[in-house]
């Protein structure tokens, strides 16, 4: 019980600090943090599948993009308002992850990675193919008038930050809840030993499919939020780069930890931001740091904290 209080305290504490920062941070970092929180939500979604279920996908950009375009296209072409548009985005991610999961989960290991990569590539090409609607690489802007949610103007930095925090809090607490309950404990068991888990009487396929859908839907929520808050949807977000990012963030922050995705996203964002101030070879600095971290903190930052300091961290 005291472990629950500690962990709950820690996570709610983080959310309160992030809330306070809304009024404390200078404009530049305020804007960064809003962006980081939305991207961290994406990483949280990725972590459900990679960190907790042990399935490495190389195609999560398709879910992020499904959310972004599900939202963006309904606003742009059907004139939907933000709330139903975001729901459309999440719905698109949910359906896509159900279909992709159903097919891709027939494979395991490297084959699963390749299959998810191929599906994501197909989604990316689809975005380009329907350039008439999506404006392909160039993308399209979501106008200020379309970004007013229940009378709240999301282009205002303050509102944008709070909206990002709200989405982040939902994702964080949802996964916190998930891993403490039956379904979450079962996917962790599948990660640890799939065969053993099956032999205890669990339908492994159904649980994995559930994990893909939860992971894909959270990623889609992040994608829809990103498009809405920052007013743009473009094909870059469906590219392979955006499939690799969440993997890096989660690896860095600690796969299979609740706070890892946020820590990893924050760390990498500022690593690139700071090193690009110093040198144009900033990707080199970022790369070397990543290599050092994987050598000396192979479980990621929060993973190491858990292994060395706080074993009660979820």
């Amino acid at each position: 019980m005291s472990d629950l209080r500690k962990t709950l305290g820690l996570h709610v504490g983080l959310l309160l600090v992030l809330l306070a920062l809304n009024w404390l941070l200078p404009a530049y970092h305020h804007g960064n943090l809003a962006r980081i929180m939305v991207l961290a939500s994406y990483a949280i979604g990725y972590n459900v599948l990679f960190g907790y279920t042990g399935l490495l996908s190389l195609g999560h950009a398709m879910f992020f993009a499904a959310g972004m375009y599900g939202m963006g296209l309904t606003v742009r072409h059907l004139g939907w308002s933000p709330a139903p548009a975001v729901l459309a985005g999440v719905g698109a991610g949910l359906v896509l992850s159900l279909v992709v999961g159903f097919l891709a989960l027939r494979t395991t290991g490297v084959a699963f990675m390749i299959v998810t990569l191929m599906f994501a590539q197909a989604v990316f090409l689809t975005v380009l193919y329907f350039g008439e609607y999506t404006r392909g690489d160039e993308g399209f802007v979501i106008q200020q008038v379309d970004r007013i949610l229940l009378g709240i103007d999301l282009t205002d930095p303050n509102n944008r930050y709070l909206a990002a925090l709200l989405v982040f809090a939902i994702c964080l607490l949802a996964t916190f809840w998930l891993v403490r309950h039956r379904f979450g404990k079962t996917i962790i068991a599948i990660r640890e030993n799939e065969d053993r888990t099956r032999m205890l009487g669990y339908d492994v396929f159904r649980h994995k499919l559930g994990a893909v859908v939860i992971s894909g839907s959270i990623s889609a929520l992040a994608g829809a939020t990103y498009g809405l808050l920052f007013g743009y949807a473009g094909a870059t977000f469906a590219s392979v780069q955006y499939s690799i990012f969440p993997l890096l963030w989660v690896l860095l922050g600690g796969a299979g930890t609740i706070l890892g995705p946020f820590v990893g996203t924050l760390f990498m964002f500022y690593l690139i931001d700071l090193s690009s101030e110093i040198t144009t070879a900033y990707m080199l600095i970022a790369g070397v740091t990543l290599v050092l971290l994987t050598l000396f903190a192979p479980q990621g930052l929060m993973g190491e904290v858990r292994a060395r300091l706080f074993r009660w961290l979820p």
Partner: protein, 236 residues
């Protein structure tokens, strides 16, 4: 009542017939030992029974229902429990969580689960280590944890694949009395190399050789059987 019945159960791996036309019938509450030299097909046979391996021919019925086409997890939910020959506990999880995972499929309330976890771990003498990671246990203790997971499933048929391998003498004695306590209620199918254990706990013995049933009978009958002596006991 017959808990388990196989008919003509066979499995070939390429050219090798690892299990050949096995007709097995185990009545309710019996402790049935399955013995035979290494490579006789014992692990393959129980794999066919619980659905880990698909048979080339033959049928499996469990509690008078044909389960040959059922996937593993559904057979387990109907009351089969299986412990692995090669220990495969979930090493990064606590003993508590290992056993809880075994209990949950048949129990909704987490409080009841916790109670049963403690009870199963007490029965194998590991309850004082409930919060440790399973991977930190010695090999023998991991075997005991496997058995506790089997108990946590409260199976109608408990299949144990060489459970005493790597246990100390004291632990083997404790294992014997545990099995005797289960007998009568739980049907046990026990693959075992240690003949002292077999003679101590088995009601009946099935001897497997080159994938086929060589002999079947009470421990006394098996001890006297010349064919078994030649194939197995004499050399063991």
């Amino acid at each position: 009542m017959t808990v388990l019945r196989t008919q003509g159960l066979s499995k070939s791996f390429g050219g090798l017939e690892a299990v050949r036309d096995v007709d097995l019938s185990v009545p309710q509450g019996q402790v049935r030992a399955l013995i035979g030299p290494n490579g006789a097909g014992k692990t393959t046979l129980v794999g066919l029974i619980c659905g880990r391996i698909e048979p080339s021919r033959g049928t499996v019925s469990f509690l008078d229902q044909d389960v040959t086409r059922l996937p593993v997890h559904q057979r387990i939910r109907r009351g089969m429990g299986y412990t692995f020959q090669i220990t495969s506990v979930l090493s990064n999880l606590s003993l508590r969580e290992n056993v809880a995972l075994a209990v949950r499929p048949r129990e909704k309330s987490e409080d009841v689960v916790e109670g049963e976890v403690v009870s199963a771990l007490t029965q194998v003498g590991l309850v004082h280590r409930i919060d440790q990671h399973a991977g930190d246990l010695s090999y023998g203790h991991q075997r005991l944890l496997e058995i506790a997971m089997g108990l946590g499933q409260r199976p109608k048929l408990l299949i144990l694949d060489e459970p005493t391998q790597g246990l100390s003498e004291g632990e083997v004695a404790a294992f014997n009395s545990l099995i005797r306590r289960l007998a009568g209620e739980t049907t046990v199918l026990l693959i075992e190399h240690n003949m002292d254990v077999v003679m101590a706990v088995a009601d009946e013995i099935t001897v497997l050789d080159f994938g086929a049933v060589l002999a079947e009978g009470t421990p006394d009958e098996i001890r006297k059987n010349a064919g078994v002596q030649a194939a197995y006991l004499g050399t063991g």
